[in-house]
Structures are given as structure tokens and as C-alpha cells.
């Protein structure tokens, strides 16, 4: 049985004028235990909305339209935000956010932030026992427990703060971890050390299953086993890392790869190509392929025909001309 399932999930935001913005429309995937699943896409494609959906955390103006999210076969939909925080987050699903500085209360020490997290899930836990557990855990994952736990967030470097956030998120051994751009605010050297820590936690069995969200396809190539490329609220291509990165079939994935750059011999002539235009307005009903307007190889019927996801060359592609 898959440990995590998303079944035809539709999510929308309700605006002040009662317009519905369909940020996620029809996303489905399933993950086995031990899998790292990468989701890539440009800003505003619905990645972060999908994360909220995967946690079952619906804070207005975000509402679920339809669909189901299951952790180990149990649905986590239809709960109040408070119930989600108490019973889903931390144990079932843990989230690693992007900005480590915004996630840590600057007026409290790391050990208090971590202890609050445990105390909110375990009624009547003894504070000094919790501190002892924290010390053990931080030492086990290779952090200098005493220095880090007694520090205020401002005393730590950005990379260290992000590592603390990861350590705190995974304190209760979650079944599932969702990392939403955990390294985009960091420089390349720090990024590498944070990724190394995530790998380390995976190897030590602190958690085993992860969704990793980023807009850097080259990074996903090293982190994920399977990659989904998201565009305008839908998955447009899902396949193994090798398939998606080295042999992309959807025009959008190809364009994303074209926009990448790398400092390698002979690459300077290959200019990164920006994708012109903007994604469609998700508040309006969309007919036809969502990428048609920006697609370099669009044909006449692309604008009018809705594209269904189908299997091409061993992976799932939402394009009628992917061959």
C-alpha cells in the first residue's frame, strides 16, 4: 500500500469578490515508503498550494474543491486547521518551510521552540525530560546539541537555522516530510550542506519518504528519484529523474531545461532561453492546453483540445504530440 496518496486533488482560493482561483486542478500521485519525489515548476504554478493540500491544512482563503489525500490509507481531509496542527502535522506529515528566519520565533531559544513542538503533541510531557530527548536527538543528527539548543535564532547562521528547522520538523519521526524550497534562500555552499543533512536524516532512518519542491531542476536531479513538473496547477510530466531531466518530452519541461545554465566547458555559447509569456489566468475557465500560448511547437488544435495525461516512453505526459 502506498504510504502517501493524492487522488485527483482540486484546490481553489476564494477572492474577495467570490471568484474562484483554481490553483491546483486534478493532481494525483502515490508514493511508496522510502521514496523521494521531486516537484518542479515556476513561481505561481501551484507548488506551495499543493503542499498545503498535502498537509490537509486549509486556512481561508484556500479551500478544497474535491479530491482526497491519504496518509497510510487514512484520509486527512475535512479537518479544522487546529485539528490538523494537533493530529496530522509533526507525526503524519511534517513540513520544512523555505524561509528559516520566518519560521523561528526570534524571542525564544531553539530548545524552547523545539520543546513547545513536542509539548503541543504530547499532553503532560515533562519539560526536563523533553530537553534531554532534544539533546539526544540533536546529537544523533550530528549537531552540536548544547550550543545550538541554547542559542537564539539570531545567533545562528542561515544554514544552521535551516538545519534547526529541519531538526524540529522531524522531531516526532513523521511518516512523510514535505520540503517546500528548503534551500532557495541559501547560497550554493550552504545549500549543499543542508541537502547533505537531509540525506543524512534519510540514511539514519529519521524519516524515509519525502516530497522535495524546488524550481531548480538540476538540484532535483541529485535529490529525487522521481520528478513531476507542474504547470498552471497540473502535472504536465511525471517520470523518473533520468527520463525527465535527460529526455524531457513535454514542451514545458524542455523549455525549463533550456532556461537552465551551468558553468561547464563549451556551455557559454548555449545561452539560457527564457520562456516568453505568462501562465494562464487560473480564475477564468481554461479551454485547451494550458501551455499552448507559450508553447514553441503548439499546433492549431492545441488551443481548443484539453490535454489528458497519458503514457509516452515510460513516463506520464500531458501533451498530445509528445512522441
Amino acid at each position: 500500500m502506498p504510504i502517501f496518496e493524492v487522488d485527483n486533488l482540486h484546490l481553489h482560493y476564494l477572492t474577495r469578490f467570490k471568484d474562484r482561483i483554481h490553483a491546483v486542478s486534478g493532481v494525483s500521485f502515490a508514493m511508496e515508503k522510502g521514496e523521494v519525489f521531486g516537484i518542479a515548476g515556476e513561481s505561481g504554478c501551484g507548488k506551495s498550494t499543493l503542499v498545503n493540500g498535502c498537509m490537509g491544512l486549509f486556512i481561508p482563503p484556500l479551500y478544497p474543491t474535491s479530491g482526497e489525500v491519504r496518509v497510510a490509507g487514512e484520509s486527512i481531509m475535512g479537518r479544522t486547521p487546529d485539528d490538523v496542527r494537533r493530529n496530522v502535522l509533526g507525526r503524519k506529515v511534517a513540513m520544512i518551510p523555505q524561509g528559516a528566519f520566518n519560521s523561528l520565533n526570534p524571542t525564544r531559544k531553539i530548545k524552547d521552540l523545539a520543546a513547545d513542538m513536542i509539548a503541543s503533541h504530547e499532553n503532560g510531557a515533562n519539560r526536563s525530560e523533553i530537553y534531554e530527548r532534544l539533546r539526544e536527538r540533536f546529537a544523533r543528527i550530528g549537531m552540536q546539541a548544547d550550543t545550538v539548543l541554547n542559542a537564539f535564532p539570531i545567533e545562528l547562521t542561515a544554514g544552521m537555522r535551516q538545519r534547526c528547522v529541519i531538526a524540529i520538523s522531524t522531531l516526532l519521526d513523521p511518516q512523510m516530510v514535505i520540503a517546500d524550497e528548503p534551500t532557495s534562500a541559501l547560497d550554493v555552499t550552504t545549500q549543499k550542506s543542508v541537502i547533505r543533512m537531509i540525506f543524512d536524516l534519510l540514511d539514519k532512518g529519521i524519516f524515509s519518504t519525502m516530497i522535495f519542491i524546488t524550481h531548480e531542476l538540476p538540484l532535483l536531479r541529485h535529490v529525487a528519484g522521481r520528478i513531476a513538473v507542474m504547470y498552471a496547477g497540473q502535472f504536465v510530466e511525471v517520470g523518473t529523474t533520468e527520463q525527465v531531466v535527460f529526455d524531457p518530452r513535454h514542451p514545458y519541461t524542455q523549455a525549463l531545461m533550456g532556461a537552465m545554465l551551468s558553468a561547464e566547458p563549451g556551455q557559454k555559447q548555449k545561452k539560457p532561453v527564457a520562456i516568453e509569456g505568462a501562465p494562464p489566468n487560473l480564475a477564468l475557465p481554461i479551454h485547451g492546453c494550458r501551455f499552448a500560448e507559450r508553447c514553441p511547437v503548439a499546433r492549431a488544435d492545441c488551443v481548443s483540445t484539453e490535454q489528458e495525461i497519458r503514457t509516452v516512453a515510460g513516463r506520464e505526459v500531458r501533451c498530445a504530440y509528445a512522441e
Partner: protein, 272 residues
């Protein structure tokens, strides 16, 4: 009029913050010249002093030791300096005032100039600048900063540069907040600025890959020092300094091994 004097010349520039036991040396005895119409990239990790150097170039802070000259003269009046040297920062949302429309702020930026253009010329220059960054003027008519996406806002900052046409642009991590597609766009605009307006550009980044694409020369910084400099091909193909090697290694590239995990499990699952 070609200027023979270097745009920026630094001789033994240092900057120390704090004093006594708490003194932090952000820049340590840095010397360089930047020629007219050159694109120079400052590359280094967080805390290497690259932004401090940018602020010195903008005249926002002064060096504690050494000599820093702009076209042969020390930086005196800041307003005078900003007529020729303009920045693009990392976070466009903190650069614009939330309470005024974008267009009015673009027009207000002409206030820095010695002679304010006429009202009609101002409108024309703003329209032209917006088209230069691929935004049709009606798209942002009457809009406020929070109504635009991050990529659009970053382009607004660049539109400001197209409108003001300074002689020198200091771009401090202009691409670190935006995704890969927009990043390629912004690099295009930087090249356009150099080609069309003959601007000198100082490009600050932690990604040596980006620097490789845009620059004529790369300075690698580490702990407040410039540890290596040279043309991009030389620096990226034959790095001499260990910090350069590390910066190159740390970029995740699709073609080479980056960080391998021992027991990676890649189980296929049902997906549609």
C-alpha cells in the same frame, strides 16, 4: 566621451564593523580596477563581503581604510553619486513603497536627476523602459507593488534602470529571489543594458554559473578578500584557488555527480 580613468578603483580598501573585541572585518585590504563598460561579477558565499563592497560602490558606507575612487575622485555627495551609479537589489518588494502605484514611483525616480525631464518626456521614457523589460505599459497601469508577481517586480526594478539610464549599475543578487525562467530573462536584460546603453555593470551573485554567462571578469571573494580574479573562461575552467573550486563544485549540475547518497531507493510508484 570615452573615459580613460577606471570607473571604480580601490587600493587597500578595508571595512571593519564594530570595534575592540567585537570588531568584524568585512572587507580586508581589497584592491582592484573596474574599467568603463565592463561587466564584473563579484562571486562568493554568504558573508564574504560582496554586499559590503557593493554598498561602498554606492557610497552608502565608507571604507575604514584604503582609498576608493569613482572615476578618479572620492565619492562625495551621495545624491550626486547616485545620478550616475544606481542599484538593483535582491528583494524588489522592499524597494518599492506599498502605498504608491508603480508607475508613479517609476516617474518619481527621475527626481534624482539634475534636470527633471518634461512631463511628456517622463511618460515616454517610462513607457519605453517598460517595453524594454517586455511589459506593456497598460499591464501595470494603476497597479500597486503587491499586485505583481516577484518576477514582474524584479523587472520593474530593471525598468527603473532603463528609464534613468545611469552610467554604472550595481546589481546585488538580482536573480536570487526568482525562478529559473525569469532568471534567464533578467540576464538577457542585463546584457541589453550593456549593449544598448554602454553601461558598466557590477553583478553580485553566489552562483558562479550565472557570473560565467554575463561577465567580462570574475572576482571570487572569500572572507573579505578577493582570492581570485580573471576572465570567466579561465576562472571556471582552470580555477586556481580552493574557494573557487568549492564554489564550482557546490553548484548542482545535471551532468556531474554532486552529492551522492549511499542507499538511494528509487521505487517506481503508481502515478498519473
Amino acid at each position: 566621451m570615452p573615459n580613460e580613468k577606471p570607473v571604480f578603483s580601490a587600493a587597500g580598501v578595508s571595512r571593519v564593523f564594530g570595534h575592540g573585541k567585537k570588531a568584524v572585518t568585512a572587507l580586508d585590504n581589497v584592491s582592484f580596477h573596474i574599467a568603463d563598460q565592463e561587466i564584473v561579477s563579484l562571486v562568493g558565499g554568504s558573508g564574504c563581503g560582496k554586499s559590503v563592497l557593493a554598498k561602498i560602490m554606492l557610497g552608502l558606507i565608507t571604507p575604514t581604510a584604503g582609498q576608493f575612487l569613482y572615476r578618479g575622485n572620492p565619492i562625495g555627495d551621495a545624491r550626486e553619486h547616485w545620478r550616475e551609479v544606481q542599484p538593483v537589489f535582491q528583494d524588489p518588494f522592499s524597494c518599492f513603497n506599498q502605498f504608491f502605484s508603480i508607475r508613479s514611483q517609476l516617474k518619481a525616480s527621475f527626481g534624482i536627476l539634475n534636470t527633471r525631464p518634461s512631463r511628456r518626456e517622463m511618460e515616454e521614457r517610462v513607457d519605453h523602459a517598460l517595453r524594454a523589460v517586455n511589459i506593456e505599459p497598460p499591464e501595470i497601469e494603476g497597479k500597486y507593488p503587491f499586485e505583481l508577481s516577484g518576477g514582474q517586480m524584479q523587472r520593474m526594478l530593471l525598468a527603473r534602470i532603463f528609464a534613468l539610464r545611469p552610467r554604472v549599475l550595481i546589481a546585488d543578487e538580482p536573480t536570487s529571489m526568482v525562478d529559473a525562467c525569469v532568471r534567464a530573462n533578467i540576464l538577457d536584460y542585463l546584457m541589453k543594458l550593456k549593449e544598448e546603453l554602454g553601461m558598466t555593470i557590477v553583478f553580485i551573485t553566489h552562483d558562479i554559473g550565472l557570473a560565467y554567462y554575463v561577465s567580462d571578469r570574475i572576482f571570487i571573494m572569500h572572507h573579505g578578500r578577493i582570492v581570485e580574479h580573471g576572465p570567466p573562461d579561465r576562472v571556471t575552467m582552470h580555477p586556481e584557488n580552493e574557494h573557487t573550486v568549492k564554489l564550482l563544485d557546490d553548484i548542482p549540475s545535471i551532468h556531474k555527480d554532486w552529492l551522492s547518497r549511499t542507499n538511494v531507493s528509487r521505487k517506481p510508484g503508481a502515478v498519473h
